[in-house]
């Protein structure tokens, strides 16, 4: 069995209550940090651990913390981004539902490290049960003296609040989240200034993903160097992967980074292969925003080496033959799935969720969605395919926040790797309504796969 750091006790009955959680070693890190470590020591441990942000971008968490401005007499805030709404990602919800105290413990230690006296957990509005669970857990922690004034006699005060969001995907972008938390319309801010300088209410703020904050607990318990031994290269530690799609056993898995993708999909310890004995056609490796890959490039790198579940290996080869770790939303498509329909579906999501602030994203996502709708429903033209590539290029990199990129990448990559399927939809408008293009050559060894792209 691979090492589990976050979900070790997930199956213990009553782990969502404070008593059971403490019996299993919970809140040790709070005692250790507050009694024996200075805030800077905690930041140093997290830096040593090499923990990278689990929300999608993979920016080193320790580095992010050390950028936090610390002017005298100004409040600092830690905000936990639990606005998980990426299609295909549901790991944070799982963690918050079953081990809410792991998040609260992480929040206390992280807030201590950053010197925040007030911290917020911004939870997506649709996750009402999780909000209640968190509120109950916070009340338990507070009555046990882990929150409030003078925690464990250390003189450190912390108030922790749960804030339900309005249910907009864009509020998962950190500056939009801060705007929403302040009670305004959730439009991303124009950076700079970055939240580390002027964030919530204009004060220095750190925004971290749920999983990143929960990962601080094992880092403090075992030490940063011990944590860094798990994983591979610069991808240290474990990662929660939300596996969905045509898999035998979809669900949330904790993996050690560096696990081969093939093992993740086919081993019985994890997803157990493709459902109904079908073959794998394509995957989206890190949530809907990352480029989609055909089966051959998912399992193997362009040079034939096996692809691993790590930040580096997944992005090996850039966007030509690689993808991204993203938020760990692993979606598998079997041979019966239609890539055009799936791309249209993603595009529809981004069209619906664009905040409408900057023009390329506001107008471009709608345009792409309409063109994809036309191709999928058998009214497409050959020129539409190049038009899509062109529009996606005009959105990518020209927007305020990464939602524009996230909308452009799936479309651009689907056309890059599955162009013949798009062409087939245009050539065979009748047939494409009744049957699927099938697996074609997408699962064949890479040499032929690459040739077909040229």
């Amino acid at each position: 069995m691979a090492r589990k750091l976050l979900l070790e006790h997930i199956n213990v009955p009553g782990i969502n209550t404070l008593d059971v959680y403490r019996q299993k070693g919970g809140y040790r890190s709070v005692e250790k940090a507050l009694k024996t470590l200075s805030p800077d020591d905690v930041v140093e441990e997290v830096k040593k651990s090499g923990l990278r942000g689990r929300g999608g971008a993979g920016f080193p968490t320790g580095m992010k913390w050390s950028f936090l401005a610390k002017p005298e007499g100004v409040e600092r805030y830690l905000v936990c981004n639990a606005d998980e709404s990426e299609p295909g990602t549901f790991k944070d919800r799982y963690l918050m539902t079953y081990i809410p105290h792991a998040l609260i413990e992480g929040m206390i230690v992280s807030s201590y490290a950053l010197g925040a006296k007030t911290s917020y957990i911004y939870v997506r509005g649709e996750m009402m049960p999780q909000i209640r669970i968190l509120e109950k857990a916070i009340a338990e922690a507070k009555s046990a003296g882990f929150l409030g004034k003078n925690i464990l006699g250390s003189g450190y005060d912390l108030e922790l609040y749960v804030q339900p969001g309005g249910g907009a995907y864009i509020c998962g972008e950190e500056t939009a989240l801060l705007e929403s938390l302040e009670g305004k319309r959730g439009n991303p801010r124009i950076k700079p200034p970055f939240p580390a300088i002027a964030g919530l209410y204009g004060c220095p703020t750190v925004v971290n993903n749920v999983e990143s904050i929960a990962a601080v607990v094992p880092i403090i318990n075992d030490g940063g160097e011990e944590y860094a031994k798990v994983g591979i290269g610069r991808s240290t530690g474990t990662k929660l992967i939300s596996a969905s799609g045509n898999l035998v056993r979809p669900g949330v898995y904790e993996i050690e980074l560096g696990l081969p993708v093939e093992e993740f999909i086919y081993s019985d310890e994890y997803c157990g292969g493709i459902a109904n004995g079908k073959r794998l056609k394509a995957t989206v490796a890190g949530g809907s925003s990352v480029p989609v890959l055909p089966a051959n490039l998912t399992l193997k790198l362009a040079n034939g080496d096996p692809r691993l579940m790590s930040y580096e290996s997944l992005s090996e080869g850039g966007f030509a033959t690689g993808t991204m770790m993203g938020s760990g939303g692993f979606i598998a498509f079997d041979e019966d799935q239609c890539i055009v329909r799936n791309t249209w579906n993603f595009s529809r999501f981004y069209h619906h969720e664009s905040c409408g602030q900057c023009s390329p994203c506001r107008e471009g996502t709608g345009w792409m969605e309409k063109v994809l709708h036309r191709i999928e429903h058998g009214h497409g033209k050959m020129s539409d395919i190049d038009l899509l590539v062109d529009v996606s290029k005009k959105i990518e990199g020209n927007t305020i926040c990464p939602l524009g990129d996230a909308a452009a990448w799936p479309v651009a990559s689907a056309i890059r790797h599955f162009r013949d399927e798009f062409e087939w939809h245009v050539r065979e408008p009748q047939k494409s309504q009744q049957t699927n293009y099938g697996i074609a050559r997408y699962a064949e060894p890479i040499a032929s796969g690459l040739k077909q792209e040229n």
Partner: protein, 334 residues
Amino acid sequence: MSEKVKVTIDGITVEVEPGTTILNAARQIGGDIVPPAMCYYSKLEGSGGKCRTCIVKVSKGSEKDPRPMPKLVASCRTTVMDGMEVMNITSPEVLEARSGVVEILLINHPLDCPVCDQAGECDLQNLGYEHGLQKTRYEFERRTFERIDIGDKIQLHMNRCILCYRCVFTADQITNKRVHGILNRGDHSEISTYIQTAVDNDFSGNVIDVCPVGALTDKTFRFKNRVWFTKPVDAHRDCPTCKGQVTLWYKGADVLRVTARKDIYGEVEDFICNTCRFDKKKTADWVIEQPTHISDTSVIASNHYETMKPLPVIQTDLRLQQANKVELEKTAKF
């Protein structure tokens, strides 16, 4: 006062105050290298960054950190660093991205310029002429809205809106209470009032001036005339609420419209009150100063007799005179 920083835009170096944005530094140089701006408005705090037409390439970050910036940046919201090198019209990448933005801004625009009151002084029209395509590649139905009267003097034509947020910032910053804003999300966003309230306060008329397109129009001027048939003159009056410095737009002996005075970038110099704008439409109300300066590239200048004046900074700097040679010769000819 801290020391000035040097920034080079398209090969022309200028010294500016620290904290200046690239766009404002470019405006100090003047000429063709100034990026177009649809949403940025120097008088409104927090504006800009939304339309993305002013994007430029930063080929050298600063003297200390010479790495180029990875993406094109919005020049209206990026501050200059010492030794920064910026490429605007000398970078094909920027021009291509800008034409992409213009195409995208126009896909849901009704292109009803022949019946639009803004035609002739429309930023989007100018931008489209300069960077747009001859034909649209958008083959779907355009987004449409009903026309709304917000108050008895202003009409909102949401079809034409490019969601620059300028009118929202105006209402926030120069009036006491904002009653209109952006509703909905993405390309369903619209400027609207809460349950169709009238926008009613002394300075509400300024949203007409700041609107870069014909989405907010003056109902006292609607369909009265085309702007290029009218002659603008600067005038002032002793107004108890505002500075009272305006431009009067004459057709024959009649004042058809009163607007605030605008600079060469189409930004108002001083906001004016509704009394000046809507009620004082007689020559007797005003002290006439001089004909308004109109850029010779504007269609309004077609029957106008003023010559173009180069910016003071160009007249004093030798290198800038070299860069703006053609325009200076044109001025001398007049």
